[in-house]
Symmetry: C2
Subunit: 204 residues, 2 copies
């Protein structure tokens, strides 16, 4: 009885909770649970309530879908950003990645996934209607598709491209190529082939 | 503003909470926080309350110090275990490690740390008095010291040995030597030297 379970059902529950998180095994979960014991009670209360508050009170920007506290997100609200260009991504994490580059100054639109018949995700399950709605308002001149490569991402990109074709909006996708610091030797053929096809004039 | 912080203070708090755990950086913390969003609210509530309950309601076995729900722990309560032998360890995790071996059938005594003048931990800060009290009751015939090696562990072992010397109790320490699967080539000299000193008759 003592081998797999612990001497306390409270500890058991705490370990189960941590172990339910992605990428956290039972050994790490035990370490985290025992760490909790050494924290002041107030800290643990704050920990628990911050997660619960986040889960229950989270809001999404009605325009782009970014996680926000209340109403429009800081990006849609930022009047300094280029409102004529919208970057379409799958998730909020993609927004953070692109923001981290500091190279993009337009708006975003989070789809909430990609079309994936195998997982039962169709166009109707994604924030596509609201994207098209935004695009018919006339302010947007370019849509940048920044979806993942692979069958499902390409399918979704193609679907969006077809939907946007009737509107007079430029549709682009982010460049694919050999990453900085990557050896040609270890780059897959598809990427390297496309990188050669899409070569650009050399600039100093 | 969007670079280091996020678009939502709720998200910010949740990420801060996860990142306060040992071994979890801000990138993992973000991943965990966004995972929380995809869980049903009831699961997140259960998660939060399991940690809080554990922290506020945890109890320790009055005899050995093991984490328990209520009163004596399952080990001290287990009448099949050998009550004449007590293994002295630093922490609850050491108990779990020893229990996992399946090789020990006696009782435990958790010190709650080791003597460490640099960290301001003296004998009075550890559960040493209760160990001596247990040992004077007459039932215990052997104390196994299973503390960490190194200056502080050795000091603590020596201190306990001196304290136990007046009582007619055998004091032993766990064997140190070359671990199974370890190459001699990569074993440190101290360990290998002690392993040769403490060699044992070969048994088939």
């Amino acid at each position: 009885m003592f081998r797999q379970t612990y001497s306390s059902s409270l500890l058991e529950d705490a370990v189960d909770s941590f172990a339910s998180l992605p990428g956290i095994g039972r050994k790490t979960a035990l370490r985290l649970a025992l760490h909790i014991l050494q924290e002041p009670e107030a800290n643990v209360e704050k920990f628990a309530s911050s997660l619960l508050n986040f889960r229950t009170q989270v809001q999404y920007c009605p325009q782009c879908g970014i996680i926000t506290d209340d109403g429009e997100c800081p990006i849609c609200n930022d009047r300094k950003r280029d409102r004529s260009i919208v970057c379409v991504v799958e998730s909020f994490r993609d927004v953070l990645s692109i923001e981290n580059t500091g190279s993009y100054h337009g708006l975003y639109h989070i789809l909430g996934g990609i079309i994936s018949p195998l997982d039962g995700v169709g166009p109707g399950d994604l924030r596509i209607a609201s994207l098209l709605q935004r695009c018919t308002d006339g302010e947007i001149r370019e849509v940048v598709l920044a979806l993942s490569t692979g069958m499902e991402g390409e399918t979704t990109s193609f679907y969006l491209y077809r939907q946007l074709a009737n509107l007079s909006i430029a549709v682009s996708t982010i460049a694919r190529g050999v990453a900085f610091g990557d050896d040609l030797e270890y780059t897959d053929e598809l990427t390297l082939g496309k990188a050669i096809e899409n070569r650009r004039p050399f600039k100093i």
